[in-house]
Symmetry: C2
Subunit: 230 residues, 2 copies
């Protein structure tokens, strides 16, 4: 019984943290009292405690308590005892490097696969995929591997952006970058626009929110869909 | 006698490949007959031969010949015999992974440090810096290290983009990403806008082209400058 909620972004323009998701989070975390928050993607500016408080403030609106995984000296124990997880966004390289350096990537994966609900936003969603190789983030640290939790049979591109019409900029579009990924990898990629999220129950995947998703597969033309099937 | 030309981009909007640089390239490569082209950043779509022909077509306009480094079965020998180098853009992860897998990063660095002129655009400029950790590219392959040639005492952010005013997108701005880099690294970063390039002669660095550069240092506010000094 795998149960995931994977969102493109935590925050919509002009809105509060997680606000657009709260109604669905009340259902997703229905029988959960305390959510274990994974703050490790956040590169700086604010400490893990502060980031955890931001999550706690949002979840208080639906009567959930939040505890930061960083507060456990034994992180494996923190994971083992968790009722549910939320992994927030930031930098995916940093998040993956931290999960490997604490040796908890496999532990977390196993706990989620045994049925503990997992919610991710942005970098937190990326790590549910096969690899972190379709992140948009800057490689500010060097992780020992790009392999992630492989809870779903594809990669996510969070904050998916359509090409900007009439752009005079010469940097690659997001679509071009994902096509380049497919020169070396066969993993399908779900381009998830801000406001979209995936609800995963075992092998059933539902696309939620306001947009279609853009699907990229090796050697195929990208296409729009409202039904995710692999 | 180190001699580098490091450009943000190969191509300006609506113009031909390298066109905006050709007058200066005629001077930079004044005594050079044949330029050794490094095509390894290009992730696919076109083979190395085709990419090399694109470079050759541009350089023919200033009477230079171009030979692709990929055409040498012994790449070290190709480097040892080169009169000058041009490394084109593409994906920096791929370029760095290829340089390591051919074991030529240090060989190329030594040859350039001994006075062989080196020109880079985009990914080709990134690898002249301390590390590739301020690339904008997607991690489509896993290089054995992020360390690059360290020919200049800073990192480059090619295709530097100012924040888009009134954007409703929640992805990080370029400036935010570089600030995050500085949470973990002290290397200064030169944000090089399209149309800008650096001319390096030993330790003297001149900013050329139409824009100021944006300089990012750890624990300092970013600033604009037309004079690069470190």
């Amino acid at each position: 019984m795998k149960k995931l909620l994977l969102a493109s972004t935590s925050t919509l323009f002009g809105a509060n943290y997680l606000d657009y998701l709260l109604d669905d989070l009340a259902v997703f975390f229905k029988d959960i009292k305390t959510i274990t928050f994974i703050p490790f993607a956040r590169p700086g500016g604010i400490p893990h405690d502060t980031y955890t408080k931001i999550a706690a403030t949002a979840f208080a609106k639906i009567d959930k308590e939040v505890v930061g995984l960083h507060s456990f000296s034994n992180k494996e124990e923190g994971i083992a005892n968790a009722e549910a997880f939320f992994c927030g966004g930031g930098n995916t390289f940093l998040l993956v490097e931290q999960l490997y350096s604490f040796s908890i990537l496999e532990v977390l994966k196993a706990k989620i696969e045994s049925g503990t609900p997992y919610m991710g936003t942005s970098a937190g969603s990326n790590i549910a995929g096969i690899s972190m190789q379709t992140t948009n983030d800057m490689p500010i640290v060097y992780p020992p591997s790009f392999k992630t939790m492989q809870l779903v049979p594809f990669n996510i591109n969070a904050h998916y952006l359509d090409p900007i019409p009439n752009s005079t900029h010469n940097g690659e579009t997001r679509e071009t970058r994902i096509k380049e990924f497919h020169c070396f990898n066969n993993t399908p990629v779900v381009g998830l626009r801000e406001g979209s999220y995936l609800l995963v129950t075992n092998s059933q995947i539902r696309l939620m929110g306001t947009h279609t998703a853009r699907i990229f597969k090796a050697n195929q033309r990208a296409y729009e869909t409202s039904e995710i099937e692999f």
